[in-house]
């Protein structure tokens, strides 16, 4: 390592020390190296005389009464890394608005709920209702399959556009709510509220000051993680519920149209519906209570 490089490293690693003091230290080490070179030692060798830079930095910080012990053990380092990642992510999101990690989790969760609702809506509105209606209408005109298909895809596109519009609108509102720290308003309220205009700022609590890092309450991350896990568990159950529900409708349709009934199929389908409904309710019951982060 050459002198400049060494001093650069030192400068960087001693960033905890005030600028003035740091300059002083660098000047000391700089002149020392110069003296050593003047006495006939090669530059690299002069720098190597200081030994391990990290050791040296530790000693210097120690002399400035900056405790470095807590930085050393591996477990603490792992802790710090997690903390760093956490803070980085939070910083990243904070750039978008004044969000804490908890709020970010809430926003993500709300987005998942919205997407789920829209998927269910798509199945009900497009795949069942539209198809049924279209086939009813066009079954009178034989040979209009092309038009049926065309109308159906038109319905799909229309629904997709509407869904995206709806999603963006609701999410924008959610984000604004969280920015104003109005946790008490659930995602459902916002969905009902979508067609009203923007949030009336009068019925929102005043924006609290963002607390300093060490003043913040311990985060309720566990409950958020639990929520994510619950949602992930709910998705397949919800799919089963929807599927068996559709199955039931189809069974009724078939038995009405063709006058053939299968008691076994009915029983199985109803069992599926009830079973998935029960599991879903159980998961909903396990939902953690909303933590009032404003209090």
């Amino acid at each position: 390592m050459l002198k400049k490089e060494f001093l650069d490293v030192l400068n960087q690693k001693l960033s905890l020390i005030s600028d003035k003091e740091r300059e002083d230290i660098l000047l000391e080490y700089g002149t020392y190296i110069d003296d050593k070179i003047a006495s006939g030692v090669a530059e690299e060798e002069a720098v190597a005389g200081f030994g391990d830079v990290d050791e040296l930095v530790k000693e210097i910080l120690d002399a400035y009464k900056i405790n470095t012990d807590s930085m050393d053990p591996f477990s603490n380092r792992a802790d710090k890394t997690i903390d760093k990642v956490y803070v980085k992510v939070e910083e990243l999101f904070s750039k978008l608005g004044n969000f804490s990690m908890n709020e970010i989790f809430h926003i993500l969760f709300d987005a998942i709920v919205l997407v789920l609702i829209m998927l269910i809506g798509k199945v009900i509105v497009v795949d069942i209702l539209c198809q049924f209606l279209l086939s009813m209408i066009f079954s009178f005109f034989v040979g209009f399959y092309m038009i049926t298909d065309f109308m159906l895809s038109l319905c799909r596109i229309l629904y997709l556009c509407l869904a995206i519009y709806f999603f963006v609108k609701v999410m924008a509102k959610r984000v604004e709510r969280y920015r104003l720290h109005a946790h008490n308003v659930g995602v459902m309220d916002d969905i009902k509220d979508t067609w009203n205009d923007n949030i009336k700022s009068s019925d929102l609590p005043p924006t609290p000051e963002r607390p300093l890092y060490h003043e913040r309450k311990p985060r309720h991350l566990e409950s958020d993680v639990l929520k994510v896990i619950l949602v992930l568990a709910m998705i397949p159950v919800a799919c089963v519920l929807i599927g068996s529900g559709i199955g039931l409708v189809v069974l009724i349709y078939v038995s009405a149209m063709y006058a053939t009934t299968s008691a076994g199929l009915y029983c199985m389908d109803i069992a599926f519906v009830l079973g998935s409904l029960a599991i879903l309710l159980m998961l909903v019951r396990a939902w953690p209570k909303r933590v009032d982060t404003n209090a």
């Binding site: 002083d24 000391e28 002149t31 020392y32 050791e55 002399a63």
Partner: protein
Amino acid sequence: MNTQFKKGVLELIVLKAIVSDDLYGYQLVSRINEVIQVNEGTIYPLLKRLSNDRLLESYLKESTEGPPRKYYHITNLGLERYDALLSEWTDFSDNVNAYLKGVE
């Protein structure tokens, strides 16, 4: 040589080196290296600590070539500390030596 030994006695040696005349970093390290081999990097933190404890004070003095050098000067407090450490060391090393001789 055992680094623990060096650590304990380094402060005494630094004070001794600086008792007679004011020195700058490189001179000081050269003098100390006549007695014991120390990591050159560790001298500065030690000097900083001694300055914090007001045992040493430093001043800048123009040099013939390059930037001004920082000279260290021992204070009265430093002299007291030196005397105390010296007598402590003498007692300590006498005792240890006597004991070691007795065993042999």
